[in-house]
Amino acid sequence: MKKSVKIIALVFLVGLVGIQFIPTQPNQSDSVPETDFMLVYNVPKTIQKKLQVSCYDCHSNNTQYPWYNKVQPVAWLLEDHVKEGKAELNFNEWDSLSSRRKASKIKSIISQIENDEMPLASYTLIHRDAVFTDTEKQDIINFLTELKNKL
């Protein structure tokens, strides 16, 4: 019985070490393309900062990674989140969308923020500064609603 526990522990450890060798592709880029949301619109500074902190980690080409992203399988988990997030919405590529799709993205952003579905609870658990206060929420929703009406 004791021996089998040892073997299992060993296999687990070898596996854990093994997966560290598998390379990941970090979501990082030095340049901000001119299709970026902030460059296309005149976004107030406070809202810019909030979007950057609360959304851009998963919804742009540049993630500010935490230290534990150096360890597998955490890095995979985050990679998946970011990939999915970018597929849904990439602020860096905002202007490549048609007006129709911009309007429907904005509608989704508003409803996700309104219903506290975004930012994800698993994200704000660690990134406390990403949480929207009620006023911040209202400000950002007002800003986006106005933007949508102008489209």
Binding site: A9, L13, P23, P26, S98, R100, R101, S104, K107
Partner: protein
């Protein structure tokens, strides 16, 4: 027991060593660039396709008049499958059937992908491409979401369908309905084949909420 301790600590050291020296940062720039390239190529191929169609239209100028005569009926028939799928989806939401709606959403994705816009003018084609792109995204979400999300996406999908039908026309009798309460009283539209109001946004909760905004045909 002692041996286990030794192995564990060796493993731990190896783990730390590997994570600090991992070489995974090297690849990043490359991948970003590749991503952009493939996107650009996609765009070009779309444009090529559109240009070829223009040429073929010019070559067969004498066929155009007969095309135009058939135009309306032919155009309207393009949207028939889509409308049928949309109405299935609407019915599923009316009966609070999440799985049925997901299935109908999937069918709609297929129908949208195979929508043939080639007989429309280039301006209409551009508009249709926008609509279809947007509608596809919403149909995809409907396929894999819980029912309240399905309804949110159905709201925008309905708008897309209304705009699409405005271009293609239809031979079917449709009612454009409006529920003023949905989405925090911002209201939402939908299409139905029957005059009686059956609300897809609230289902059994508020079956008869809404009114006919417009009759199509």
């Amino acid at each position: 027991m002692k041996r286990l301790k030794v192995t564990t600590s060796i493993m731990a050291i190896a783990l730390v060593a590997l994570t600090t020296t991992s070489c995974k940062d090297a690849k990043k720039e490359h991948n970003d660039e590749d991503g952009h390239h493939s996107e650009q190529m996609d765009d070009n191929s779309h444009m090529d396709g559109a240009m070829e169609e223009d040429h073929s239209k010019m070559d067969h100028g004498d066929m155009e008049s007969s095309d135009k005569m058939m135009g309306n009926a032919q155009h309207a028939s393009k949207s028939t499958t889509l409308i049928a799928n949309y109405l299935d989806l609407k019915d599923a939401l009316v009966s609070d059937d999440k799985d049925g709606a997901a299935k109908a959403g999937g069918t709609m994705v297929t129908a949208l992908n195979s929508f043939d816009a080639s007989s429309f003018s280039s301006e209409q084609q551009k508009e249709l491409k926008d609509i279809i792109e947007d509608a596809t995204e919403h149909a995809e979400h409907i396929e894999k979401s819980p029912i309240d999300h399905q309804r949110e996406h159905f709201d925008v999908l309905s708008k897309d369908m209304i705009d699409l039908i405005a271009i293609t026309g239809t031979e079917e009798k449709l009612y454009q309905d409006f529920c003023p309460m949905y989405n925090n009283n911002k209201g939402a539209q939908w299409l139905s084949a029957t005059k009686e109001i059956k609300n897809p946004y609230y289902g059994a909760k508020m079956m008869s909420c809404g009114s006919v905004q417009k009759e199509i045909n």
